[in-house]
């Protein structure tokens, strides 16, 4: 309704109408407008905090094509059977109904930075005073030779939540006895640094239950990966002999796939695979490129406000940014969203602005109730979001502590999704 009303006002006929009956549109007149593109951990959070903390003083529009948002975090637990799909799906009903956010389920197709206007797939134009881009990631074209998104049914990436995750789970469950699962791991930087390895743990968990002679092969272009010692310890303890990882020394970075034949060529060695999870190299969600706020693959931002370094009327959040020391994670995007919301409110309504503080914690599940975590706090410097302090779970921790850590991650999921969606 709000969109229609705004479109209505956009025409000159409407202007006359509004002069005749100003009370019809009086409630929104003159309010600063913020348009948020992307309804994930960054976008949903910034929309909610802007609406909540401005107490209706800012007109907030959230543009997100999907009606149900499936979180990437905890999607690995779904693959293992620890969560069902419904439990990681969230709707935007509360944001629209209780926070008065104008939620539009369309794709943003263009941004006119001079006119400060967003064009939607339906043709509508949304004017803004501030624009927030929180589109997550897209894949770098040609990153894995032989693979592009047209092959994503044969070789799913499952690196955006929802149908891809569902597909990967089904393929794993349908693997022949003693079959081979292969993951093509991405180079840095990428969304959720422990994500691929938690996924390996969860797939190993599933396979050891239903298909214990199956094998898992990882082709990895990176020397090292997040929580490596913790994962490797867990794989040895729980899934002995099932997981093999080929790092760059063994050609893990020299991979070609053939989705039609279901083969993977690792450094000249051709493997026939039953399931192949290709997680390609990543870049900022395409809308950032279209807005012209990227440098290289990512959108550089001013740490204190999360403003684009290229356009001060645009803020960029989460995985799409180049910000410094924070990992690309839902937690980080949520944290950055709160800094951005504060800065935007300060700029548009004159509310108090405080020094930016950022936090991140990433929990990973290795086996049943065996959780580990890594986290850090960050501050804004001129140059980057800089790490202040951090911690990581230790190898050799007892089962009780691991269980507590897992339970904490369940609490965090409940907390962050409530913080995003209300």
């Amino acid at each position: 309704m709000k969109l229609n009303r705004r479109l209505f006002l956009g025409s000159s006929a409407a202007l006359t109408a509004s002069l005749a009956a100003p009370t019809v549109w009086g409630d929104n007149h003159g309010k600063p407008k913020v348009v948020v593109i992307g309804g994930g951990a960054g976008g949903a959070t910034v929309a909610r905090y802007l609406a909540k903390d401005s107490k209706g003083g800012i007109d907030v529009t959230l543009v997100e094509p999907t009606r149900t948002y499936y979180t990437c975090f905890f999607s690995n637990l779904y693959i293992a059977g620890f969560r069902d799909l419904a439990s990681i799906g969230h709707s935007y009903g509360t944001l629209a109904g209780e926070y008065g956010i104008n939620v539009i389920h369309e794709l943003a197709t263009g941004i006119d930075r001079d006119a400060k206007e967003v064009t939607l797939s339906g043709g509508a134009k949304l004017p803004y005073d501030r624009l927030v881009l929180s589109p997550g990631i897209d894949f770098v074209d040609g990153a894995v030779p032989g693979w592009d998104v047209s092959a994503q049914n044969a070789m799913p990436h499952a690196y955006k939540g929802g149908s891809q995750t569902e597909l990967l789970k089904k393929q794993i469950e349908a693997m022949p006895e003693g079959g081979l699962f292969c993951m093509i791991a991405p180079p840095n930087p990428f969304r959720c640094p422990p994500g691929p390895y938690e996924r390996i743990s969860m797939i190993a968990h599933k396979l050891s239950e239903v298909n214990p002679t199956a094998k898992i092969l990882i082709a990895d272009p990176k020397e090292k990966f997040s929580k490596q010692a913790l994962f490797e310890e867990g794989w040895d303890a729980h899934y002995g002999g099932m997981v093999e990882r080929l790092g760059p020394d063994f050609g893990g970075g020299n991979v070609t796939v053939n989705p039609a034949e279901m083969t993977v060529d690792i450094d000249g060695d051709v493997n026939t695979v039953d399931v192949c999870n290709v997680i390609p190299a990543q870049k900022a969600g395409k809308i950032c490129e279209m807005a012209g706020v990227t440098e290289g693959n990512w959108a550089p931002v001013v740490p204190a406000t999360m403003q684009s370094r290229i356009d001060e009327n645009i803020h960029v959040l989460g995985d799409a940014t180049n910000q410094g020391d924070m990992p690309k994670s839902g937690f980080a995007a949520n944290s950055q969203a709160k800094v951005a919301a504060m800065a935007i409110r300060g700029a548009l309504t004159g509310s108090k602005v405080f020094p930016a503080k950022f936090t991140n914690t990433c929990w990973s599940l290795i086996s049943t109730e065996n959780g580990v975590k890594v986290g850090a706090t960050y501050e804004a410097t001129e140059e980057k979001i800089a790490k202040v302090d951090g911690f990581i779970s230790q190898t050799g921790e007892d089962a009780e502590l691991r269980k507590t850590t897992f339970e904490e991650s369940v609490g965090w999921y409940s907390g962050i999704t409530a913080d995003m969606f209300g």
Partner: protein
Amino acid sequence: MGAPRYLAALAAILLAPSSVGASEFGDVERGAEFWKQCRTCHRIGPNASNKVGPNLNFIFGRPFAGAEGYRYSKAMKAAGEEGRTWDLDQLDAYITDPRGFLKGTKMTFKGIKDSQERADVLAWLRENSDNPQDIPEAAPTAIGTDHSVDPEILSIVGDPEYGEYLSSECLTCHRADGETDGIPSVTGWPEEDFVIAMHAYKDKVREHPVMQMMAGRLNNEEIAAVASYFKALGQE
């Protein structure tokens, strides 16, 4: 050796509050004595079940009508549906005069008129109401006196606006509505307990690595600001 004892006794007299208000806890040992009366109907602890009355695990911060499987009165259920939760003030008012506080409650206990007795039994409840298996530490009922904090720090009045911003970091994990699901609620805590607990993390007396990190970079004013925000959030 007689002198210190005498001085201690004198200090106790001088420091004894003239009247014990709802915001203060009494003596745990005396409360344990009183609990024997409550125990006729209530249980508490790791294996506590509902008896004539509901079990009292996690009672601080627990929603009204929050004990699973207990058949509550309509009045109590309605209060639960309104989103009310038990905190120190609410419990104090309830046990003063249960049916005066909540008309229609099933609790037939006549109430405790003596404020010191109430403070004592609430102190005991607080120490015993959390199930350590479910809340590893930093339970909503955590004893604020487990760490000594300079009274000057305790007297800082927090800036609620700053607290609102700073608290947004906490709300990624701790749910604003006070629901607990693996991570304890911090909504509605007494401010002083909140401040003491945060300083205990900051000084690494309490163990949790995330909380040590979070508290470690907040200064005294910031901790006071967050404490005042969460206290107020519990009263909304």
